[in-house]
């Protein structure tokens, strides 16, 4: 047996033993009757995410290949998927639940709804990653394939599948982490005013937090983080390391385990992670769709929503019902609620932006500083931030009282969520400032403010913008989740679109209103992309440094 493989097995078992000890410790010391189900909950959650990952991979790969092989399919599918991925997932969740439950009453419907929600959060990275990977198959390989008549099915098995494996693994890691992020929302399903918990770690965490058992909630959070870290290190990192070290090293055939330099692995994965994100982003966003394509895409998305509504209202969808659903007293609040929600996002964004720039400059000036953040990235990636929400609220509401506490919790959550993308993008950009550029600034004596203004800021600007785009995207999900807090002694809320969405969607089952709010949010997101981020990004294209 290879030495490196032995080392892998040893660390694997140490990790496993650590996890088991953690389980036993929690199960023996926490006085909650449900705690004995912890292994079962873990199994259910793992199963749920794994099943969804498999579905996402199958879907992402088949549609990715379809889009790459057929121009016609690509004309329609890619822009449609792009719009769909812009819609905050948590927004359409209530509609999905109603839809699935109307077809599959009871637990099966909820389980399916939960898988579907996770699916919509996981599939995009895989799909766009696959499309990007197929596009970047070197021309000489395509030519060789043509010259030797490798086409059709043989082309897929011999050229496409092996070429997308690295992207598939990168995409699966992103999807996997996104899955854990949304799991807390996906396992606690409120329908017609009643909350149903699917057995799992996410719902257990939510339940204990809402029941004010913060200690247990924190323990579960630690457990989740440990599980995610364990799986990341012993499967994903290994796989990624294998496919990335030489570009296309065939999986499994060569000794696939080498833990000799875990730090190096984390560092390299960090870089790959960002390269991959950029690729997914450029594949999904900056494709320059034609007007016709955009219209078709919007029409398809609208059609999907209409079909969903039609099914939910069992064919009773007529103007009278639409009118009745839209002209509810709360509708008058929409403009002001939009303003509140946008303000929250803007405040959180500004804080994140300032912090990210500060950190970026610091990281650029002190190389060691950046290295220090790899472990933070590693662990941070594993923490499902949404899960912090109820825990944080318990503490902050004790200090600030209910509503103000919720307000502050929401913004803190948003900052934690948004800063992540901003900051990581900036660190990645700083890392890729060429040594030559640094030396130029040294030789010509740029120092202090001048150095920051002329060298560092321009270098991190594109990353800041991409980071902004990503952070607003995830921000919308977080805010929908965090404006409303179901509680035993009366629910709490702060005014905003997220609150309205929860009330109309979960409590009243007013799906038409829900779709309308969702439409407003998506419009804001798409307009912001078009008129802010795209504009800024095309302006900064010239700054982009060749890494």
């Amino acid at each position: 047996m290879k030495k490196s493989f032995k080392r892998y097995l040893v660390s694997f078992f140490i990790g496993l033993v650590f996890l088991i000890v953690l389980y036993i410790a929690i199960m023996n010391n926490v006085k909650n009757p449900e705690v004995k189900f912890l292994p079962y909950y873990t199994f259910r959650t793992l199963l749920r995410i794994t099943v969804t990952l498999v579905v996402s991979v199958v879907f992402g790969v088949s549609f990715g290949i379809l889009v790459s092989m057929s121009k016609k399919a690509s004309m329609i599918i890619t822009p449609t998927f792009n719009i769909m991925q812009s819609i905050p997932i948590l927004g359409y969740f209530p509609a999905v639940i109603i839809l699935f439950i109307s077809f599959f009453p009871g637990i099966l419907g909820m389980e399916l709804a939960s898988v579907f929600l996770l699916f919509t959060s996981m599939v995009w990275a895989i799909f766009f990653g696959v499309v990007g990977a197929i596009k970047s198959i070197p021309l000489n390989i395509i030519d060789a394939a043509k010259a030797f008549n490798i086409k059709g099915f043989k082309f897929i098995t011999n050229i496409i599948i092996p070429a997308i494996i690295p992207a598939l693994i990168s995409g699966s890691i992103l999807a996997w982490c996104d899955g854990w992020f949304f799991m807390i929302a996906a396992e606690s399903i409120t329908y017609a005013g009643e909350t149903h918990n699917l057995p799992g770690l996410g719902s257990f965490l939510a339940k204990s937090a809402y029941a004010n058992d913060t200690n247990l909630a924190i323990l579960i959070l630690v457990l989740i983080t440990a599980i995610v870290l364990f799986i990341n290190h012993f499967t994903w990192h290994r796989l990624m390391e294998k496919v990335s070290s030489t570009g296309y090293m065939p999986l499994f055939r060569l000794g696939m385990f080498d833990l000799k330099n875990e730090k190096k692995v984390v560092r390299r994965n960090f870089k790959l992670h960002f390269k991959f994100r950029q690729k997914v982003l450029s594949e999904s966003k900056y494709r320059g769709y034609s007007l016709k394509q955009k219209i078709i895409a919007v029409a398809i998305v609208v059609l999907i929503f209409l079909v969903v509504l039609y099914t939910i209202y069992k064919g009773m969808l007529d103007l009278r019902i639409i009118k009745k659903s839209l002209f509810v007293p709360e509708a008058a609040n929409i403009p002001i609620f939009t303003f509140f929600t946008l303000s929250r996002l803007t405040i959180a964004y500004m804080i994140s932006l300032g912090f990210a720039i500060f950190m970026g400059v610091l990281a650029a000036e002190h190389k060691k500083f950046a290295t220090f953040f790899y472990p933070i990235y590693d662990i941070g990636q594993a923490i499902p931030i949404l899960a912090l929400f109820p825990i944080l609220f318990v503490y902050l509401s004790k200090i600030f009282g209910g509503t103000l506490g919720l307000e502050i919790t929401g913004i803190v959550m948003l900052v934690m969520d948004m800063i992540w993308y901003m900051f990581l993008n900036v660190v990645a950009a700083v890392k890729s400032i060429p040594e030559e550029t640094r030396e130029v600034s040294k030789i010509f004596g740029f120092k202090g403010i001048k150095r920051i203004r002329h060298i560092i800021l321009p270098a991190i600007l594109p990353a800041l913008i991409t980071g902004s785009l990503l952070s607003w995207g995830t921000g919308w999900n977080t805010i929908i989740f965090s404006e409303y807090m179901p509680q035993q002694g009366g629910d709490l809320h702060v005014n905003g679109l997220g609150y309205l969405l929860s009330i109309e969607g979960y409590k009243k089952g007013n799906t038409i209103m829900l779709v309308f709010i969702l439409f407003i949010i998506s419009t804001i997101i798409i307009l912001m992309e078009k008129f802010i981020w795209d504009k800024l990004l095309s302006k900064t294209k010239k700054y982009e440094l060749e890494a």
């Binding site: 390989i141 030519d143 010259a147 030797f148 008549n149 011999n158 090293m249």
Partner: protein, 260 residues
Amino acid sequence: MALLEVKDVTKSFINDNKRIYVIDDIDFKVDKDEFLAIVGPSGCGKSTLLRIIGGLERPDMGEVLFHGKPVLAPTQEITMIFQQFGLLPWKTVLENVELPLEIHGIDKKTRRERALRFIKDVELEDFKGAYPYELSGGMKQRVGIARALALQPEILLMDEPFSSLDALTAESLRKEVLDIWADKINVTDTFIMVTHSIDEAVFMADRVIVVSCRPGRIIADVKIDIPRPRYGHQRSKKFYGYVDKIKAMITKKNNNHSSK
């Protein structure tokens, strides 16, 4: 009848609403057993011409006749080696050579035997299980050669086959290719090579077709009358006579072009 006839082939593309002729009315014949080189400045449609001959691209006008029949798609009889090798990174040397044979429906046993024979011919038998990333540039190109020859084509097309290699590797590989060409046991005995190196063309080819740039037209068809093997002649006056003559033609053409 010539083995291959390129008849009035024209290919253009549109850039900024202007039609640019990459290849304009190119017309030549290649005989069996011939080693033909197509020389011209980089980025002037030589590779496009080769791709048209190989059936990878279709011309706007004109046609390519092989044994008198038009070439419409890549065939087993005309294969190609590439500047960037075009090896599949996820397949071993042996698998890379075997794949085209499999595609052309050759049974498992025969294709294994034949792949091994050609891998041995290019002296890579010790590396048959290696992946492309483990090979040097020269070795990769030899895999490319083995892969193309294993199909036992009548014509081998070479697109700047030595341009991605360092000078010493290129030198020795040129000799290997010449040996393969001269080897009469081999089925493949007609070679067409595109290159921007005049020395290389004069050293290797029986005939050099000189192509101009934008539009790509034939400006000369030079028969190289130096006895083979030519290793001893590379410093000779005659050799440099050909090189200088071709160089002068290309330079003159380019100067005319830029003064217009």
